[in-house]
Subunit: 354 residues, 2 copies
Amino acid sequence: MMNSMRFKPETLRKFTVEILDKAGYRGEEAKIFADSLIMANESGVDSHGITRLRTYAERIRHGVVDIHAEPEIVNDADTFIMVDSRNGMGVATCRWTIDRCIERAKKHGSCFAAVRNGNHFGTGAFHTMYGAEQGMLTIAMSNSSACVAPTGGRTAILGTNPMSIAIPSEKYGAMILDMATCTVAQGKVILANKEGNKIPFGWAIDEKGNPTDDPAAALKGAMLPFGGPKGYGISLIIEILCSALTGAYMSPDTKSFWRDFENPQGLGFFMGVLDISKILPLDEFKKRTDEILDRIKNSPKAEGVSEIFIPGEIEQRNRKLANESGIELGSNVYSELVALANEYGVSADILKPM
Amino acid sequence: MMNSMRFKPETLRKFTVEILDKAGYRGEEAKIFADSLIMANESGVDSHGITRLRTYAERIRHGVVDIHAEPEIVNDADTFIMVDSRNGMGVATCRWTIDRCIERAKKHGSCFAAVRNGNHFGTGAFHTMYGAEQGMLTIAMSNSSACVAPTGGRTAILGTNPMSIAIPSEKYGAMILDMATCTVAQGKVILANKEGNKIPFGWAIDEKGNPTDDPAAALKGAMLPFGGPKGYGISLIIEILCSALTGAYMSPDTKSFWRDFENPQGLGFFMGVLDISKILPLDEFKKRTDEILDRIKNSPKAEGVSEIFIPGEIEQRNRKLANESGIELGSNVYSELVALANEYGVSADILKPM
């Protein structure tokens, strides 16, 4: 990266906590939130990292998200619960919900939750990794602002509807799938449009619903689900689980994280865990999972491929690297953070590069 | 279809039951099996329908599948159970397992099952539709013979690893996603090879792992997961749930349904249900789901598209048509059935066209 600086993850976490403190968000919850934000940078998913801190802080300051809200179980069937986030912070709600699910799964083997009145839950991997580290098969999904057309349509009705599933293993750490159910982030189309580049056919459609490689046309149309009709089906199921089941808004009716500072987002989540140790020894499961992953890793590679990856392996490697040699931020992001520090009355000295 | 005949679904079910009877498989279980087989034809998924009857009957006759086996819960944590199929018929095992899951979900809200020592479970939709008709969110998945390479690899390690999810709705009946996690069935490549046609790039790779449009080269290589690395991740998770969790074989070690009449298949299944009515009135859920599906159905169509479909809608429409105007079988399939009737001493007169 040109004009970049490296920071210890701890530095960025500390900075995040300071900004949140000035916005009024404090204590253990704010620390967990900072962990989730910086974990995105550590994982190399910068789009979900500290570059979002300003928007989170503004949402808190405007009171559009309620940092004092406490989630509540509004319908309770032991191992299937309905949770009202009460417009609380998404990360806190999800952590609270996963904790409840784990508690119950430790008794009964499984527990799933439908969550309404939610706000952006950050990276799904943060929540599912937490479950997997406690020996749980963990799933988390969310609906989101609409930007994806159903197969055969030309209007954005479905959200990016991300889904994460984490599976405990020994040798590979938690194996974490964390994916949006659209082809690629719409941000990539916006970037191509800015830079005057074409986009690959298959990413998006124009306003008539035809495939396009022109990013400007794509921005007037809609993104496509990943994997054709199959991906569309998965995205739609996430939509139903996160809105019909929870009573949250459907994706097109949710409010923008980026632009609406007056109305709660009204997102829905679906999450749950299975306690592996209730039906077989966890070590045995991990060993068997490692055998499968070894078999994948050690299988013959396609011509020109240097390594076969398992889901989440690249992000895991990035986290290791970040802890050894820091997180790289571009000078533009650094400038944003310095401006943010000034606005919130936080000393920019905290942002000491490595 | 050229040289085709139409049969009432009931006729084909009756014929199936007669053949199974001669093979030694009788009673309620055999009827349910016949329902599952003919449901595939009714749905227009002929590849999983009566054309497979010979192989099922042969497997039963050779005793490679144990029709007398009774599934057993070998580890029981209330809402997460380990089931041993004991090499029983896949359809019967799955019906039994879903019944146990529903029983428990009615008490606790959720129940999931890992199943080992299984045989081919037919179409996943048969099992998930059964759950959805009882108000359950239902999921079923299976591993299978290896034919899919991981992203970046060139060797088939993953099975077609099908997954079905069914969601109750009112207006649309159960909404059923039922999909293999590979691009298309390998049968389509075999057919293209027979007919001397090219296949689209993206379906498969050659033995060096390069994309190919030559079906002969593809048959020496491997199929690809649907949707690139995301679909690969989903397929791998199904693999882990169906083998590492259950203790069943991993896909490359399972035995062929079509070719191995000496060794049990050793498949694994993962299935489960959530009882919607435990956290909100089922009618309310169905109404909200209908609203989402209406919104999809009524949204503007892409140029050249006559209708936007929801998952499983085409199959549902086919079932309605099949019940009104019968199931169409080609003359080659009909001849196969007549030969089968003669071999098993069943009167071919049962096969009366409409």
